[in-house]
Structures are given as C-alpha cells and as structure tokens.
Symmetry: C2
Subunit: 192 residues, 2 copies
DNA sequence: CTTCAATGAGACATTGATGTCTCATCTGGG
DNA sequence: CCCAGATGAGACATCAATGTCTCATTGAAG
C-alpha cells in the first residue's frame, strides 16, 4: 500500500463512482447521496471521502461532462471535411455522454451563479466555430446564428437522451435523429 | 362578501399567484415557497391557502402549462393550410408560455411517476398528428418520426426559452429561430 | 503474523424547507 | 358602526437530506 498522502485505489474508484452517479442522476436527478452511494456499491461514508458533498459531486460531474465533450469534439475533427459531416461525427461521438449532459443541462444550479465553469465557454466557442465555418463556406444558412445553433444542439441532445431513456426513441437512432433534424430540418428536400 | 364556502376573490388571486410563480420558477426552479409568496406579493400563509403545498403548486402549474399549450394549439389551427405554416403558427402562439414550459420540462418529478398527466398525452397526440399530416402530404420527410419531431419541438422551445432568459437569443427572434431550425435545418437550401 | 490504510455501518447534530397553528390587523358589506 | 372573511406575521413542530463523527472489520503489503 502507498505510504504517500494519495491513496492509490481511490483514483480508480473515483472514476467508477462518478460514472455510477452520472448513470443514476440521469434517471433521477434528485437522487440522495445515499442512493448515489448504493448505486456505486459503496457506503455513504466512503462517498463523502471521495466528494466533500453533493455540490462537490455535481461539480465533479460537470468537469467530467466537459471533459467528455471536449474528447468527443477532438475525435470529431471539427476542422476536417464538410461542416455537415463534422456535425454528424460530433453527434456520434457525443452520444455516450448524452445522459450526463442531459442531467447537467437540467441542473439549473450550475447556471444561476454569476460565473459559470469556463469549460462550457470553451466548448461553446469550439462548437460555435464549427457552425460558423459551415456558414462561411456557404454550407449552412446564415439566418440562424452559431450561438443559437449551439444552444439548439445541446437542447436536442438532452431531448433525445430523455426520449431514449423513456423508450420513445431507439438508442441506435440517436445520432441520425439529432444530426438529421439539426442539419436538414423536417421539410422534405426538393428532388434534384 | 361571499357567504359561500368559496371565497370570491381567491379565484382571481389564484391566477395571479400562479403566473407569478411561473415567472419566478422559470428563472429559479428551486425557489422556496417563501420566495414564491414574496414574488406574488402575498404571505406564505396565504400561499398555502391557495395551494396545499409545493407539490400542489407544481401540479397547478402543470395544468396551466397544459391549458396554455392547448390554447396555443387551438389558435394555431393545426389542420389548416400547409403543415409548415401550421408549425410556424404554433410556435408563435406558444411563445408566451415558453418559460413555463421550460420549467415544467425540467421538473423531472412530473415524469418519474408511473402515470403522467394525461393532458400531455393529448398534446403529444395533437402535435404528432400535425407532423404526420405534413408527412402524409409529402411536405415533411418521413425518416424523422412524429414522436421525435414532437420531442424535438419541446426541446427547442425549452432551449430557446432559457437562451432568451440569458440574453443569448433575442425574444423577438424566438418564433423564427425555432420554426426555421425545426423545419429547414441548418443546411442551406440549394438554389432552385 | 503484524500493521495500517480503507471501508462499512451507524449514531449524531445541523440545516433548510415545509406544513400547521395562532393571533392581530385590515377591509368591505350590511 | 359592526362583523365576518381574508390576510400578514410569526411561532412551532416535523421531516428529509446532509455533514461529521466513532468504531469495528477487512485486506493487502511488509
């Protein structure tokens, strides 16, 4: 065992706890610390040894969500190829984190404060830049601002995540439903 | 003054309280009964005379939200003209209730129960029927299910309502942003 | 085997929101 | 004026979640 100040197993456990909490809070955002602990298979005492309190847990989940988003954005290579294809890649890569994002999206507590986590600003900027690239390249229409398109993307991800949990949308359709609606809309394209 | 069991002014006040609560809870969904009372300009005691408790208040807001949606749907005349125009009318009519809907949308408590208010089912059916009409008429694409389009509409309304509160989207752009994205998507149409 | 960090179980106090109650005050109708 | 109903203010108990604490047990390294 470690004779350092940092326990060696907690780092691994912490990630497991975090993901269990994400999965539970996605379904029940008001879950108790007790329920979170049970879902992770640990005691409430141990949970408190990992996270000082509920607030710290939510903040950690926020960090995880940001990290997952940035990872998805990196893997999606937003500067490569057509903007539309980049958006499709992004949606596909982001699907595993959709539940967590939906939870965070509904956690108003995170947005009420005067200062929000700057990670979201970075993400907004990167996603907004992708939409802007599409506009500059004549691929996307210019009457829908990049800011709104970014916001809409988040909203559709959360909507589809919840609809998936309720069984109203099949999990395998997630990327298509979001990307197709966001890019093409409901109107049928004219035959070329 | 009334000698009946039902006070005569409470009916009027009740509506005012309900709308104040909606406005407050839209901004701060975790607001206390005390804050709700203050926002309505009444005391907590009086608030409790109107609504048995927080749960009853939320249920009443849910009813109000359903009623506003049905009213908007009626005024939008979903059976009339092109489906796309009907959707545009619907979004326009629903804007005043968007904040309330966004609050209700995030109130997971309403959806966790085994049985949800049947008003939502009626609304889902009516809105779904509108999208289906557009599909049957060859106006909308058929690879996006009416259920998903309905869900997406709710999600975009909530997104835009929050973005409007934060000043990221102008209030006057609300109908356009939602309807244009939902109908046309981000992709630029080919020149005919 | 010994040791020690990590854990689980549970007791305990605290906190914040809630629901209920009483009582003084206000107000409009008779 | 007088009164009944409505209100506001506040005291009070309750309740659930939280945060903190202790202590016995476990388990793996030395």
């Amino acid at each position: 065992m470690s004779h350092l100040g940092y326990p060696c197993l907690m780092a691994l456990d912490r990630d497991h706890v975090l993901r269990s909490a994400a999965a539970l809070l996605t379904r029940k955002s008001t879950a108790t610390m007790d329920e979170v602990a049970k879902a992770a298979g640990i005691s409430r005492a141990t949970l408190h040894r990992h996270f000082a309190g509920r607030d710290a847990l939510v903040r950690a989940l926020e960090q995880l969500g940001i990290a997952e988003c940035e990872g998805a954005l990196d893997r999606a290579r937003p500067e490569e190829g057509s903007a539309a294809e980049a958006v499709r890649r992004l949606v596909r890569e982001i699907q595993p984190a959709a539940g967590l994002l939906a939870f965070l999206y509904g956690e108003n507590q995170l947005w009420e404060g005067d200062r929000q986590n700057e990670g979201w600003q970075r993400l907004d900027a990167r996603i907004g830049a992708l939409f802007q690239r599409g506009q500059r390249g004549g691929e996307f229409r210019i009457d829908l601002s990049p800011v709104w398109l970014t916001e809409a993307l988040y909203g559709l991800i959360a909507s589809c995540a919840w609809a998936t949990l309720d069984g109203r949308v099949a999990s395998r359709d997630f990327p298509t439903m979001i990307a197709e609606l966001l890019l093409g809309g409901a109107l049928r394209r004219e035959e070329p």
